[in-house]
Amino acid sequence: MTTQSISESPLRKIYGRLGLKDAVKSRRHLSDYLFKIILGMAIIIIVSPFFFVLFQVASIGFEQVFGTGPGQGIEFLFTFPGAGLEGGIRNAFVGTVELILLASAVGIPLSVFGAVYINEYTQPGKLRAIIEFTSDVLAGIPSIVFGAFGFAFLVDYLHIGMGIVAGSLTLAFMMIPTVLRTTQEALRAVPMSLREASLALGATKWSTTWNVTLRSAFPGVITGILLAIGRVMGETAPLIFTAGNSLSVPTEITGPGSWVASMPYTIWAYISDPRQYLQEKAHGTALALMMMVLAIDVIANLISRKVTRRLV
């Protein structure tokens, strides 16, 4: 029985791996084989820009963020820009952190509470459909439109003026749809029996929602929040007309003293400047920003993967 021995030989195994043996059998086998090869090349083309971007940013920015010279390494993040914009990017780093903290303080409660309301207190129907629809629409609105709206509404109409308040409120608006939808998904994944068990013990709807439902949905909610933060952290366009720019950190709530720099804005401002050291600073800022955003993304993924594992 020669066929049997061939089907077990290691050679056949390697052929099978590559699929080459099959590819020559007929035209259909060949086109099947080519199709897979082409798709494999597509995925290589898709992921390669990630490495191009990382390489470009790191090759110039590494010195800034991890170097040991003056104004490099940890000093890069924690010294203010000096004369001629030399020095660090403390203004942008602290500015971004402050903007994100303020935006989260407004955006997260709004969206988590909203999601709890529509998921726990409404039946599927018109109201829920409207809220879900509007948050989907909100998620699709271009960031520059948020910027223009923040400018028209917050800065101009409400007379808040440019600064940290208008900037972070604009970012908060952008966070709402992401957090709302992911929280909703997480709440929906909590089994009904859990709520019923709590209610059957005599707990009120209110305490059931907070102590049982929201607690078991917590990992999903955190993931949504982290994803939203990672997204708005890199936004430039909404801040251009709402946050202003500054070489130091905001000292006031309103007025020019509240103007605030941010890392994405700083990259934009520095990259188009012909001065060599500013281009390098732009790369350093980009590397730092990218590391922050990717770290948040990885943490979010770790948490959410845990959720899915636990549910399966």
Partner: protein, 254 residues
Amino acid sequence: MSNFEHHIEVHNLSTWFGKKHILKDITCYFKDNTITAIMGPSGCGKSTLLRSLNRLNDLVPSFRHTGIVLFRGEDIYGPGFSVYDLRTHIGMVFQKPNPFPMSVRDNITYGPKLHGTKDEDELEKIVETSLKKAALWDEVKDDLDHPAPNLSGGQQQRLCIARALSVDPPVLLMDEPVSALDPISATKIEELIVELKNDYTIILVTHNVQQAFRVSDQSAFLYLGELVEFDETKRILEAPTDSRTEAFITGRIG
């Protein structure tokens, strides 16, 4: 090996999924134009045996086998053998109805189109004959363009049978085709299977002894991956030679 007697013969087949030994040294053949039932308690390897016959197990990366399966005298796992030709000649009906999410007509014409039938009239004829053979024509002839998943469960399963018949395979594999259906649809499909016997070699997996008794001519009884008995259904059910077979028939295992 060339002067074969039957469409499908299995010689000393053993299979593994990873380290798990599923089928142990199975040797059997499936007579033409008869219904062979593969019986056994759940987890005994019935489906694995069935899926070895059209190489659907190949989808599982950890699948391994020894022994040979012959289709018309050719080793289907042999190096020169085209698995796509094999599957064209061996139709399969699954446990749960799985119509494609497209119209009834497209479900039937999918197979013939793959294998090069382009002529509209011919396709139309295939649709009609396949659906008639599956006893579904009268119910759906006016709704050929409706999405297939909108049909009832029993209709969906008959559509799946019609789809398998569309490429006119000499052999039909059926993996518990009625177990997911209501009793009335199940009876209808059982009757249909018996009718199809005249034109097709049918291999039917079932864990239902009564069903095997009603429809099949010969039976294979599998227990924990071993082929315990293989003979005429009537003989096995009336006078089982092995105590395990008897235990299964009388409902003590299963």
